[in-house]
Point group: C2
Chain length 207, copies 2
């Protein structure tokens, strides 16, 4: 098996790789990864060779793939297929966010209702028709739905996600969704964040 | 002055108008607004006439403007000028979010570094060059900065916002920012939201 000492260093490598992935860094040399992890690069290369990972001469390691290998070794491999409904400005930003993939959230499909958007490729995925949502959920096994549609259609699309079997919803639309008891919804409200900043700003100036 | 009974109904009208603005509804008829507020439409029209607001025959009231008039009457008028740095997918989505304007957060300026983006109009605002950030802050009096740039430039742009006098920062870039003690930063991390959903999903299936 893998030496104990190597296993003990894997969580450190994983944390460093996660930070690199978040920052959108695609590859990392063994010297750079070793420096970030606080180990010698020869030791790092030996550790990773135990995982069957050797990097590419002159290029280094693929950050996302290495993160996957390390987390698999640590028994942490999660793979949550995420479906994004509504591929406008917000949906496109979410589709490309590296911070999702590095934590096991794989955007597996994109759907939109606009004929000009359907069929286009966003971050390597072909946008499928909202009309085929149920088929898309079935094919991909999507278990988390992200709602980035305009407000008037959010509840309707939520209902369709739920009847297709999706049990976890991340909602960006400014509506309060109604869902069955066994479905979790988290609503993101960025104006709330601004209000907190404004509140603090007001307190500063009133001192 | 304005009748007591009218003043008592203003907070209800404001709450209804806020919900309409959130949902992206631009205009509302007096009948619709009255129904949502639970009052007769003749009474509503009389109330609003006391604010000098008469609506447009056949169209109704402008939601955002009426909300402003009502909150001004209630002494609640806030105006927080917000500058968005980075007008890609995420920045464009934020620039257009009605939920900000209805709560007194007015996006007053947009800056980007990409020559193809500079000079374009996004939601009615002309995108200005990131190189002129300090001038833009001075001209607009921006006091809240939103960082929607790629990670590698986030700290640099943050430093420039701070030295231009911005004291409140909403950060979307996946980096931890360093700021002086008198500057507030709120960091948005949407992968956190997904992790919470995944955690709940895991607990469901392990029952
Ligand atoms: N919660 C927040 O803090 C926050 C911030 C910004 C935007 N928003 C909200 O996020 C949503 C998206 O914002 P945006 O700026 O990306 O809007 P957008 O108009 O750029 O994108 C919306 C997309 O949804 C698509 N769509 C419409 N009906 C659909 C359907 N039935 N099925 C699938 N797709 C459909 C449209 O074709 C479009 O591509 C809006 O509801 C907006 O209010 C929320
Ligand atoms: N926090 C989260 O949950 C979350 C979710 C999605 C995206 N993001 C992050 O938000 C940021 C924006 O994402 P996006 O999808 O909109 O990216 P994007 O590439 O579409 O947009 C980034 C924009 O920033 C501009 N830019 C680059 N350097 C600049 C500078 N010095 N000054 C001003 N503008 C500059 C680019 O020209 C571009 O228009 C990224 O850092 C991304 O990782 C965070």
């Amino acid at each position: 098996g893998i030496p104990e000492a190597t296993v003990a260093r894997l969580p450190i490598y994983l944390r460093v790789l996660g930070a690199l992935a978040d920052a959108g860094t695609r590859t990392v040399s063994s010297d750079e990864l070793a420096a970030l992890a606080g180990v010698g690069s020869a030791k790092l290369r030996r550790d990773l060779s135990h995982l069957g990972s050797y990097g590419t001469r002159g290029v280094g390691y693929d950050v996302e793939h290495l993160a996957y290998q390390v987390s698999r070794e640590l028994g942490l491999t999660q793979d949550w297929p995420v479906l994004i409904v509504g591929v406008g400005n917000l949906g496109s930003a979410l589709a490309g966010y590296a911070g999702f993939a590095s934590r096991g959230f794989r955007v597996c499909a994109l759907v939109d209702a606009d004929p000009d958007v359907i069929g286009t490729t966003v971050r390597g995925l072909r946008v499928q028709p909202a009309a085929e949502l149920e088929d898309v959920v079935r094919h991909t096994g999507a278990c988390i739905g992200v709602l980035a549609t305009p407000a008037p259609v959010a509840q309707r699309m939520c209902d369709r996600l739920v009847s297709a079997g999706v049990r976890s919803i991340l909602n960006f639309a400014p509506v309060v969704l109604t869902v069955p008891a066994d479905v979790d919804v988290r609503k993101v409200d960025l104006s709330m964040e601004l209000q907190i900043l404004a509140f603090k700003e007001q307190r500063k100036t009133s001192k």
